[in-house]
Symmetry: C2
Subunit: 458 residues, 2 copies
Amino acid sequence: MSETVAVIGAGLVGSLMTLGLAHRGYNVTLIDMRPDPRKTSNKSEKNLRSINLAVSDRGIRALEFVDKEMSERVLKDIIPMHGRMIHTLDGKQESQIYGLFGEHINSIDRGKLNEHLLDEIDLFNENSENSNKIQCIFNHKVAGLSFNTSFAKIKLINGDDKDNDNEIEKNFDFIIGADGSYSNIRYQIQKYIRMNYQQEYIDKCYLELYIPPGENGSFLIDPNHLHIWPRKEFMLIALANEDGSFTSTFFGPWKLTETLNKRELIEPFFNDNFPDAVKLIGMDNIVRVFKENPKGALMQVTCNKYNYSDKAIIIGDASHSMVPFYGQGMNCGFEDVRVLLQLLDKSTTREVAFDSYTESRHEDLKAILKLAIDNYNEMSTKVISSAYLFRKTLDSLLGKLLPKYWIPLYTMVSFRGDIPYSECIRREKRQQTILKIVETSLIGMCAIAGWWKYRKST
Amino acid sequence: MSETVAVIGAGLVGSLMTLGLAHRGYNVTLIDMRPDPRKTSNKSEKNLRSINLAVSDRGIRALEFVDKEMSERVLKDIIPMHGRMIHTLDGKQESQIYGLFGEHINSIDRGKLNEHLLDEIDLFNENSENSNKIQCIFNHKVAGLSFNTSFAKIKLINGDDKDNDNEIEKNFDFIIGADGSYSNIRYQIQKYIRMNYQQEYIDKCYLELYIPPGENGSFLIDPNHLHIWPRKEFMLIALANEDGSFTSTFFGPWKLTETLNKRELIEPFFNDNFPDAVKLIGMDNIVRVFKENPKGALMQVTCNKYNYSDKAIIIGDASHSMVPFYGQGMNCGFEDVRVLLQLLDKSTTREVAFDSYTESRHEDLKAILKLAIDNYNEMSTKVISSAYLFRKTLDSLLGKLLPKYWIPLYTMVSFRGDIPYSECIRREKRQQTILKIVETSLIGMCAIAGWWKYRKST
């Protein structure tokens, strides 16, 4: 008989993991405390605080690893973004291309991608060979979790049942926690293992804004760029949606953002700092969002280890919640799925696979969390510094001249999923050392040339 | 009407906080999920994993701040420890005195101190003026916690009630979480505030051993020292109890300790490393403890912030669990009580007091956690290094010569509760810089003197 597994969390990572396991013959039960997002009407509320996603190589690789055809279906609505579009204070737009050879990241709507993945689960079940291998239980909360030597026992409570009268108990061979930053499964397995754990809020919050489509669903700014209004302590970004609209996000310090609570304060702030964005979003909408919408917190979560023997493991945001500034949260979560499935495929026992995952994955997860937090500074400040642009030009030049030996950091992280995150950081350190030498030599050579010219002229 | 407060956790810190608040006129309800320790017969099990405590200046100061006479009563059984007694591998004992002017720390039984504090609560209630201002609810677990603008609502479940049928709901003006390293209150208030949080296990576990009294309750080794068998990667310590016995604790790496699971392995390990301790404890007892008793984990917990507006605050291990190597866990927790009570006494509102606590206390708590973890190396390794002993001698000499300007670190932490922990670290940094210069000068002077003597003799 096939082994039974419960995947907790029917978000992006949990849904992909469910498909990956089902393809391998496991009997998967996918459990989520929220209702099926395809059946809930309350869509606007759902999306109030969801940052648009950028899917890149690591995410696509993982989707293809699970099922190549499925990957094509779920990614059919993506919009390629070839670079950043920097909006300067005087209203100019400057394009900074991401890839050296035309590579691009892709804007995608989180909600839609999630629904596509859930549709894929239905499609999988409809295939007569699979005989409903996947069972989905929405609207049920994990109220308890316990383990013995042979199985994991889950107590489920129906979210509609206010009196908690109807607890369901289910046993599984193992469970996978993909239940997000505030993971209940992570909390539960801490009772069984000595888990190092850290959660840290950064002093920034975010608010989501909306740029409506132009006439006939046209885009008011270039859809194939990730738009940034970099203003150091705060910034605005925008990613295209397929209907011609953009999802825009304001990031700023809590203190500043909380003071922007009246039209008299919000109006001058936006007019001074984002005059061109005001025209796109509309001042009334900005004022309404700042006054009414809940501000999102930004938290980094790290932990170690990730598994309790062969009984439980956590993946995705449950094990590594990161700030969104490198656009890698989902990509990294999807990579978790690929890495774990590959380990399950090749290991003699599930315990070996889970232990190997904990051992090998931690360094990479630490690396991407550091890259994510550091990238706020890059997006909000450095992108307008000429020293940064000079070095970036050199970096790209070397990458084009020596593609085998020199790969810019952004390329490694976003377009080269074959290079582990930790290796990206190691290579980048070496490259930065060389870049500094090259820069210094260039400056030296210019100085000598200048002196030579001066001498000749006198 | 007086304000109502629930203190969660009737351990050392919670009990002292309860007394402190009651003295200030609050109506205090002290809640603990465990039964009243004075009424439970299962004492041996209770103490299987409790390290003996050393109470020092900060702890005593806080007890006296709450009630000077109470302090004298609860500390009547303490045994002064004037220094460390180092047990070398060849069975020699070397005393290293803690204080410069006769100061000492004090061995105390955690269980007894806890019972004394609970007795003090009864004594307080018996005073007719106080008319049972303190209510104790044992054996009740906090099953839920919620806040609104005017009060904190706690749901309590009786621990004996297996079906959780009889939930009690109680409202309080505010609550104080003193519920230890695995604090439930800390977890609950994270739903209301952005709390940075970190828990980290060190790669050491501990097992408690027992040195019985000699004839007629005599002490087999000097009771007025903290005994240490320093063996680098692992060590043994022992603190005296008033009945002539010692509570001894083995600290070692998890991997090593877990392999010591058979008599054939435990016997040679102890005979090789702690021959004199084997005679005191008895090999059969050592083997039984290593084979049967649960190993204790050692975890550090830090968080920030500590309060949710004026509604809730966490103190003691709930907010700063530390490894036991500086003997400051309880002392620091008691100091929390003093600091918080002083802030409540002088602040205009409770919110101001709680916010000030979070702001001012964090640096000190970070400091003592760092000192605690660093001190493992001092206790287990440095105490037998001659370079360390040389510097310590200089340090003490300067401390005796210049008592106003020079205070050795150990003295500041353990005997000078008027110096905040963070200030201890700052002063120690300056002193270490000077010590290095003095050392280098001394070595230089010796070299010159030697050269001079050599020159004169030739």
